[in-house]
């Protein structure tokens, strides 16, 4: 998640106002209308009689907590799933969208959160995948190249159609996907969390493209958890909660608080619960640490017991890499790591765990959980060795008791401890990862984007938990790309830029501007030894 300077939005705002077409010629019918759509899945009702209207040349933001039904509705619109009941209208005419192809025919295209490109093929091949123009029965490469150039120009992407997709940075890959959507003459473009893996700069480019498309008559349904983005980009906001409409906000009503309130259904005034408190002994101290990702810089910092230290920075600043070195995923090139005053060698996660460290990784599905296994198995995974009985036999009673404790302590919403983790919501999955580590009672908790992709309610619970753990004397180091999180939660903040720590900010010194200054490389001389 990229951190974004506030002023980017100001520029975009002006840009958008300049580009926004006059709305006087708006036709009678909305471009797209969703009426009373209902959809059920095993055990849940994902959508219950929801309504949504998308006007011509409009950016509609669709927001809601995870599990609110946003993605389900988008899949219905894109022809991936069919509704159980309800109606879809385009230009006032009822339509049936029963396949991705028929969605294309109606001018609806979905851009998935995880991009759907064949990254071993070139850009042109991807844009026309499945719809290749042919000449004499063979693929007409010349036409692909020519048409691709036009489409790439429309999304402002200046690369050759012959470039292999995997060589492009992720932001440009996304533009390729948008170009593909435009190639089917999409009038409705659905973007599901488009900025979740983009850098700040890439996100800016994307916003420009979005505004540009709107000015050319394409309407966009924009799904995002990032409310600051929504605030700046959207003409209107529709909020879903628990598979139902929770409310709509017009341009002038859009505010962070209103959106959060509609999403969680209650007033969230006390979002961050951080209380100032006195830290104890230094628990983790890093001296002249050199990471393999950024061999040119030495890192120095320390965390005390009961302290929450935030690590801010842009994507690529080396924050995740630093945590991975501390946890032994990638061994350090040089430098020392001290835990409670003792120098330790960390060559693998095994060493790190032994020393009392725990890491909640950035990608919980890939690194944090074995998705196909039960809650209980996942919670017990890191403690298997510690709790084993003679000859390596599993300690099942202990594992069960520990899981029960974590489920109640972390308020993990799961039918039982045998539930397979992949069926839990993102927030509850994250709690399972936390439970795995807390069962080991670590001295230092490393959190990498602890609230990424989880809903507002779960976020708040995680903040509360961090506070609680710090109070009990745990040292917490957390990487976050959400400015509000950094400002709200940290006792101290380390700001990184291109592999080095450009500044350390105390709670008194911290402000959005100060963080952004440092994150973009403006080093405060006095704070860096």
């Amino acid at each position: 998640m990229p951190d974004r300077p506030q002023n980017t939005f100001c520029i975009l705002h002006q840009l958008r106002n300049r580009l926004r077409p006059s709305m006087t010629d708006s036709p009678q019918h909305p471009l797209l209308e969703v009426r009373d759509v209902t959809k059920g899945f095993p055990g849940v009702i994902a959508l219950s009689r929801v309504n949504l209207t998308l006007g011509h040349s409009e950016v509609l933001a669709l927001i809601g907590e995870n599990g609110a039904g946003k993605s389900t509705l988008m899949k219905i619109l894109a022809g991936v799933q069919e509704p159980d009941s309800g109606q879809l209208l385009i230009d006032g005419n009822p339509v049936r969208i029963d396949s991705v192809q028929s969605a294309f025919d109606h001018g609806v295209a979905l851009i998935h959160q995880e991009l759907n490109l064949s990254d071993n093929l070139d850009v042109g091949a991807n844009i026309f995948l499945g719809r290749e123009p042919k000449k004499n029965g063979l693929i007409d490469k010349a036409k692909i190249r020519e048409d691709s150039r036009d489409l790439l120009a429309r999304v402002g992407l200046n690369v050759s159609p012959d470039t292999i997709v995997e060589r492009l940075p992720i932001g440009q890959q996304q533009l390729v996907e948008i170009a593909r959507a435009l190639s089917v003459n999409a009038r409705v473009l659905i973007m599901d969390e488009p900025t979740s893996s983009l850098s700040a700069h890439e996100a800016e480019t994307l916003f420009k493209v979005v505004n540009d498309l709107r000015s050319k008559g394409v309407s966009i349904i924009y799904i995002s958890h990032r409310l600051s983005e929504v605030r700046e980009l959207a003409d209107r906001v529709t909020v879903f909660r628990d598979g139902e409409n929770a409310g709509d906000l017009g341009r002038d009503e859009i505010s962070h608080d209103r959106m959060v309130q509609l999403m969680v259904g209650r007033d969230v005034s006390q979002f961050y619960v951080r209380k100032p408190h006195s830290p104890g002994e230094v628990v983790l101290e890093v001296k002249d640490l050199v990471t393999p990702a950024n061999p040119g810089h030495k890192l120095n910092f320390a965390i005390r017991a009961g302290e929450i230290v935030g690590v801010a920075g842009l994507v690529g600043a080396g924050r995740t890499e630093t945590l991975q070195v501390l946890f032994g995923v990638e061994p350090a090139v040089a430098g020392t790591i001290e835990v409670s005053g003792k120098t330790i060698q960390i060559k693998s996660p095994i060493d790190a765990i032994q020393a009392g460290l725990a890491l909640v990784p950035e990608d919980r599905k890939l690194q944090g959980l074995v998705l196909e296994m039960a809650v209980r198995t996942n919670v017990g995974l890191a403690g298997l060795k510690r709790n084993q009985k003679k000859l390596g036999f599993l300690n099942s009673p202990q594992e069960g008791a520990c899981t029960t404790e974590m489920i109640s302590k972390l308020r993990i919403k799961t039918p039982n401890e045998q539930q397979v983790v992949q069926y839990l919501s993102g927030g509850n999955q994250q709690k399972v990862v936390l439970g795995k580590w807390l069962s080991l009672n670590p001295k230092v908790l490393l959190l990498d984007e602890p609230t990424r992709g989880i809903d507002v309610g779960a976020k708040q619970e995680i903040y509360r938990l961090m506070e609680e753990l710090a109070e009990q004397g745990m040292a917490i180091l957390f990487v976050s790309s959400e400015m509000e999180e950094i400002l709200g939660m940290s006792d101290h903040t380390l700001v990184m830029h291109e592999g080095r720590i450009t500044g350390k900010l105390s709670r008194e010194e911290i402000s959005e501007e100060a963080v952004m200054q440092l994150a973009t490389g403006n080093v405060r001389e006095e704070s860096v030894a």
């Binding site: 059920g40 095993p42 159980d84 946890f327 196909e372 795995k436």
Partner: protein, 334 residues
């Protein structure tokens, strides 16, 4: 257990159908032979299932059996090695082969398919070269050792079957299956294998030494294959270096997959593998007894297994759909 119902059903259907079609099927002699073959396949199936659970594969098992099977009588008979030396040599060799597979796969990140495919070629070639491609055997000696493979324990007269003797390999296979099932389900190491087979990264991030566990799985697989090789050799007593054990890797893999091991890793049950291993010799036996042309043997085995897998998949999907519809109805109603 529920996951294995499909394979158990297939086994029972073939078994009962054959029993009705040809009464000779249930005579003691036939059943003893069948159980012995099924047990030997079961042993190597159990070995390879440990590797498949890590989302790996071992294609070298057949050649391993060929190598161990020729090497043991070669050392004992042609070189007059002591029984202890002979057995020690083949066991150490098996362990080393597994160790090398594991190290190549974890350290050099070579693909298991490639490593063990090369193994398949290397061990076969080594066996033929070592023996000059001449047939090996135990020449009527080592009867007490051969008891492990061909021995029988009399169980007396069983009505409808006759004087029935339980083949010793069955006991060995059951013993191995129990140990393997305990290892897989009751120890932290089994849990490690299942976890890393599903998600190697998450396992590593949880402080599991995944490389070491993968090496262990390949070593166990090769050791069990070596053990199987000894038994197959003792059973046959006429070992052709150029084809002894060939294709057995596929029988072992088929047994594991039929028994519910996913080639994507992280899933498997030893009980299923044991039943899966019994299906192959059962089908062969049925084809013989039902008077079908033996030249069609492979084709029939292929078709029956494919049909079984298809039915299993269809049933699973229908069940999932039914559950989904039911749940959706309940959700809508509530």
């Amino acid at each position: 257990m529920k996951k294995n119902l499909g394979i158990l059903g297939l086994f029972l259907v073939v078994f009962i159908a054959t029993a009705f079609a040809n009464p000779d099927f249930v005579n003691a002699y036939n059943l003893e032979n069948l159980i012995r073959r099924a047990s030997l396949y079961g042993i190597i199936g159990i070995g390879v299932s440990l590797v498949i659970i890590t989302s790996g594969i071992d294609l070298s098992i057949g050649s391993m059996i060929g190598l161990v099977g020729t090497m043991l009588p070669y050392l004992l008979i042609e070189h007059g090695a002591s029984l202890f030396t002979g057995l020690l040599a083949v066991v150490v060799l098996s362990a080393c082969i597994g160790l090398i597979h594991g190290l190549l796969i974890t350290r050099l990140k070579l693909q298991p398919f490639v490593v063990t495919l090369c193994g398949l070629l290397i061990y076969r070639g080594s066996a033929r070269w070592m023996t000059g491609d001449s047939v090996q055997g135990f020449k009527g000696s080592y009867d007490s050792l051969r008891y492990l493979a061909i021995g029988k324990i009399p169980l007396g007269n069983i009505p409808g079957i006759g004087e029935f003797n339980l083949p010793v390999p069955f006991l060995l296979m059951i013993g191995l299956a129990i140990v393997a099932a305990i290892f897989l389900n009751k120890t932290i190491y089994g849990r490690y294998l299942l976890a890393l087979g599903r998600n190697e990264q998450a396992a590593r991030y949880s402080g599991i030494n995944t490389d070491r566990m993968v090496v262990l799985a390949y070593m166990l697989c090769s050791l069990v294959a070596g053990f199987g090789g000894i038994l197959f050799a003792l059973d046959s007593n006429s070992i052709q270096p150029d084809n002894f054990g060939s294709f057995y890797e596929l029988y072992a893999i088929a047994a594991a997959v039929l028994g519910g091991c996913s080639l994507r890793g992280g899933q498997g049950s030893i009980f299923g593998v044991v039943i899966g291993a019994a299906i192959l010799p059962l089908l062969r036996n049925s084809i013989n007894l039902l008077g079908m042309p033996t030249t069609l043997e492979f084709a029939i085995i292929g078709v029956v297994i494919l049909a079984g897998v298809i039915v299993d998949e269809v049933v699973k999907r229908m069940a999932a759909k039914r559950r989904a519809a039911l749940a959706a109805r309940q959700a809508l109603g509530g």
